[in-house]
Symmetry: C2
Subunit: 301 residues, 2 copies
């Protein structure tokens, strides 16, 4: 560990760009957000966009460190930062930083894991951006052993022991939910703006635990309408419960350590509700995990 | 059983209308097909469309029987024929016919099954049209015990013992495949018209057997591209293998009896290939199962 320095933490994702400025005691001085996700930035224009958004901070904290996390390190980002393979803690992440300016400005790589449980070939899973949130969640809770769940378009379940991510698994839950809501035969009978119904949701979570595949339980959303099992305004929540419940069916029984849910509050609330229905307590964390992750990583460099 | 009569068999589905005329010895005399699926027919106009397409047959075979199967018996069809509950064989199906003209013209109802394996509530599955294909497949093969698989937009796996459907389960496999191909993030890296690759397909089938949920294995299609595990032109076949493989993961280990695959040859070939990769032999049948089912049912009335 080195002498504490000011930190400019940047979370540069697919659709948004956020930055936070911390002094050398880790106190937040300023925050900014721009609609400049990497999808809006042409190849080669990342340095200019960064300068435009955070150039003044960099100038003011001339002895500071700048860490960039998220899809900015992907093939479509500023520069591709090769994934840091699991198991990975601060030490491994630090070694795999991609320095844009030596000692001054670096891209935090994502994590990769080789899945091999009985497989006749190598299969990989990856994350980019969630890595820093995981370490932030550990830092905020003081836990060294946990299951960290990051709900979203592509949800992640990470197993952490002794402060290191041992392995993780992604689920295309959010994306599949959106596809089914918008384009499938189910969308015809799902009201567009139904409010959330906890009963319908829990009904879906429970059905998922007793169905061998979500491809089959999804069909249940159709038969609900035929047999009037559940009021129509509950069907969208039921579908959400089926999909989140499917993640739990696949993963929850494996979890012994405390479960941390990290992400936007609407989603983490649903996951907490689903876990509760299975008798599993979980703690929720929000966006604060991202900055906590940057600060914790900076401390370890 | 009654004296053999001529049979007019009609398969009236969502997007097509097909008819076949058999003499009282079960010999095919004529066949017709029209682009008049039930989606093209307004409520109240079913009798007129039927008259237009098959009126002459009905007049010529004045002592004949006419059976209509498929979505024509759904809420959006000619008249809703309540599902025949499983277990169901010819006797039950015969008792549940919806007679439009007594002794002369009837809609064959679909099947329903109440799933209750450990569920804290009733859950139903349904089929309409596949029922007649199942009985046709049994009639053509002479089998009384089998697993009958009907691949499609909503695939069905039916367990048959002593000539009766004991239970079945639907999978939204075909629909989910189409959604992912057309609208998901995966569609961006999948070539639109890639030919079928058996290696990529079997790779997907095998991965599905080692993954606890298809929501997770789907993400593998993304990482394939990142890690160059499989050539890009194989990705669509890999995705198809993942989804069909997921059905097999959920169902195939439960099957002891012979497996019959019924449907269009492209799909049944894929399922046969997937089953073969798991060491399970299967026999394929095509459209002939539909008319065989009508004939077999008529014989039992």
């Amino acid at each position: 560990m080195t002498t504490p320095r000011p930190l400019i933490a940047v979370d540069w994702g697919t659709s948004s760009l956020r930055g936070a400025r911390f002094d050398n005691a880790g106190r937040l001085r300023d925050q900014r957000e721009f609609p400049r996700g990497i999808l809006t930035v042409a190849a080669g224009e990342f340095p200019a966009v960064f300068e435009q958004c955070f150039g003044d901070w960099l100038q003011q904290d001339s002895d500071g460190l700048c860490l960039l996390s998220g899809m900015v390190g992907s093939r479509q980002g500023w520069q591709e930062a090769p994934y840091c393979p699991c198991p990975a803690g601060f030490a491994e992440l630090g070694q795999h930083l991609l320095w844009l300016q030596a000692g001054r400005m670096a891209i935090v790589p994502g994590l990769s894991v080789k899945l091999s449980d009985g497989l006749p070939f190598d299969q990989h899973d990856v994350m980019r951006g969630e890595d820093i949130q995981i370490f932030g969640a550990l830092s905020l809770t003081g836990l060294e052993n946990a299951t960290v769940v990051l709900p979203g378009t592509h949800s992640k379940w990470a197993e952490v022991a002794h402060g290191r991510v041992l392995r993780f698994r992604s689920f295309m839950t959010g994306e599949v939910y959106a596809l089914l809501r918008q384009h499938s035969i189910l969308s015809r009978t799902l009201p567009a703006d139904a409010p959330w119904h906890e009963d319908g949701f829990v009904h879906g979570v429970r059905l998922a635990q007793h169905t061998p595949s979500v491809l089959s339980s999804l069909f249940a959303t159709r038969t609900l309408a035929l047999f009037d099992t559940l009021a129509a305004e509950q069907h969208a929540s039921f579908l959400s419960g089926l999909l989140i419940g499917e993640e739990l069916r696949a993963m929850a029984h494996r979890q012994a350590s405390p479960i941390l849910l990290v992400g936007n509050s609407t989603l983490t609330q649903r996951y907490q509700c689903a876990l509760q229905a299975l008798g599993l307590p979980a703690q929720r964390l929000g966006d604060e995990a991202t900055w906590a992750g940057h600060l914790a990583l900076a401390k370890h460099l």
